[in-house]
């Protein structure tokens, strides 16, 4: 049988950059998309640890719930009709660590449902964060952008996009 997880694109930054956009996504052959990032920020303090994402450049209609733990406490919050997907525990400058962030976008081409996603950000220095939510649109996803919210990611940060085959 054919491989069901196919590398579509990957990029390792040669210099600091704030935004990465995956465009012209496949219009057939795949059911889900997985984006994996390994990142560190060029700034060291909050709010410079935020990892944002959008699809189709849409600046509205993201609904999601987050859950995180920092080693001493846990918390959960939620967002409605937000302008982007927000994760907040990305690795800061000087931490010596790169975070690992994974997004799963489900049924990204299907127009009979809003686009559900799951995400997890792992940062050994600050703790894990899980996110579940949706982009409240039945449009197919044609592009995915991720952002270092207010600064940039350092050279060496990497981003990979995979397609999950589903007949």
């Amino acid at each position: 049988m054919a491989n069901a997880m196919v590398a579509l694109a990957n990029l390792t930054l040669g210099s600091a950059q704030q935004t990465i956009t995956f465009t012209n996504l496949p219009t057939s052959g795949y059911r889900d998309l997985i984006l994996i990032a390994n990142t560190q920020h060029t700034s060291s303090t909050a709010p410079f640890n935020q990892f944002w994402a959008k699809v189709n450049s849409s600046a509205s209609d993201y609904y999601f719930v987050r859950m995180m733990g920092d080693g001493s406490s846990t918390s959960s919050d939620s967002f409605s009709a937000n302008g982007k997907i927000e994760l907040t525990l990305d690795s800061a400058a000087g931490s010596g660590q790169f975070s690992r962030t994974r997004f799963d976008f489900f049924d990204y081409l299907e127009t009979d449902k809003h686009k559900s996603f799951l995400a997890r950000l792992d940062n050994a220095g600050q703790g894990p964060q899980q996110v579940a939510g949706r982009w409240a649109s039945t449009s197919a996803i044609t592009s995915i952008s991720v952002y270092a919210a207010v600064d940039t990611w350092v050279a060496g940060s990497s981003f990979a996009l995979y397609g999950i085959v589903s007949a």
Partner: protein, 179 residues
Amino acid sequence: MLGSLWFNSFSAGGGGAAADYELISTTVLGSSAASVTFSGLGTSAAAYKHLQVRYVANGDSASYRNRMRLNGDTGTNYATHLLFGTGSSVVSAAGTSTTEMALSSGANTSNVFNAGVVDLLDFQNVSKNKTMRALVGSNGEVALTSGVWLSTSAVTSVSLRPDAGNFITGSRFSLYGLK
């Protein structure tokens, strides 16, 4: 600065890359159904070490939680622990001696589907109980779950169902094998 990656052509199947993660079966509901079952795994999944279910589903009940059952075993042979965020707090819950394992919750809201990635480990090993772990979520909840089926039998079927009502049209369930 905007960095763009452009895609010009794709071929599902990976262009000859080593196939260690493979699609076994997908079900997309064309009409509502009380459950979805992947069966015959003793044959169709014999080449794999682990299984993964990816789903995006909605139900027709105002409140439900998705459940997973193995080999059609309806006995009280399952346990699940959940750590979930509700949007205001983080809660831990457990169920032991249950008849199924717990996954994501949902509500019958138009276009709003809940999703999950469920790993079922070493499913053919007949000397250990079968363990499951999952990241699941919906519009109002995100959860990490771990579960066990207290049986050393090889897993030959995997069933999912909402604990109230039916899965609705458009719900999708895919089963993958990992070598």
